[in-house]
Symmetry: C2
Subunit: 112 residues, 2 copies
DNA sequence: GCGTCTTGCTACATATTATGTAGCATATTG
DNA sequence: CAATATGCTACATAATATGTAGCAAGACGC
């Protein structure tokens, strides 16, 4: 029972339904996006410092992600201060705080 | 030679530091991974039902993600029941619950 | 037995996306 | 004037995803 198979895909990737959660999951599911948000959790970084923090991700994709996140209102570029989270971005990052603790438990259970 | 998707991967991408959070962020940052976890929040789905739920993602990458998530101990395949979250997977999904509410606020602020 | 479902999963050619290296224009410092 | 750092881009190569097709194994009714 396929629903809407073959319909247009001109909306945000991964969000044919238009439900915001789908658009958000898709945005966060692109390479380096979650990592970027994470690395900015304690303060702003210049684009190059951010690249270094993200295992030397290529500048091409890094700029793409930064533009996307800026357009999404989660990041902003302050002159002389580099990239930092907006209030909305900080709010989103709050939801990821439990992730670190989970990651610790997860790595122990998986490696066994 | 492209790396075989879905096969064992001893060094997790994006985690040179070995910090679990980096491995987790990288795993969740692959295409369709977050979406898969999300779509299974209310119960198990067969691989094909899951593909339909995920905007008809290609079976190739879907199987790759399912294998990765199984290897990560977040998903399991139950005979006759399809794919479902493990206890660990359910635990992880708990941390994403606030995301839906955030997504609603986010979409309103961004569209303006 | 047969045929028709559905399941998880794979092959393969094509399209999309990321990498790595180099470089640009602008600004700031000495 | 260098010398340095910023944000950002070009471009060829490598890695990933897509879309279509199909496989083998079960379960169902006949």
């Amino acid at each position: 029972m396929p629903k809407q198979a073959g319909t247009a895909k001109k909306t945000v990737r991964g969000s044919r339904t238009g439900r915001p959660i789908m658009a958000l999951l898709d945005l966060l599911g692109r390479r380096w996006t979650l990592r970027i948000m994470w690395e900015l959790r304690e303060g702003s970084l210049t684009s190059r410092a951010l690249r270094m923090a993200c295992d030397e991700a290529s500048p091409t994709v890094m700029q793409a992600r930064l533009s996307e996140l800026r357009e999404a209102g989660l990041l902003e570029l302050a002159q002389g201060d580099g990239y930092g989270l907006t209030e909305l971005g900080k709010e989103l990052n709050q939801t990821f705080i439990p992730l670190q603790r989970f990651a610790e438990r997860w790595s122990k259970q998986v490696s066994s």
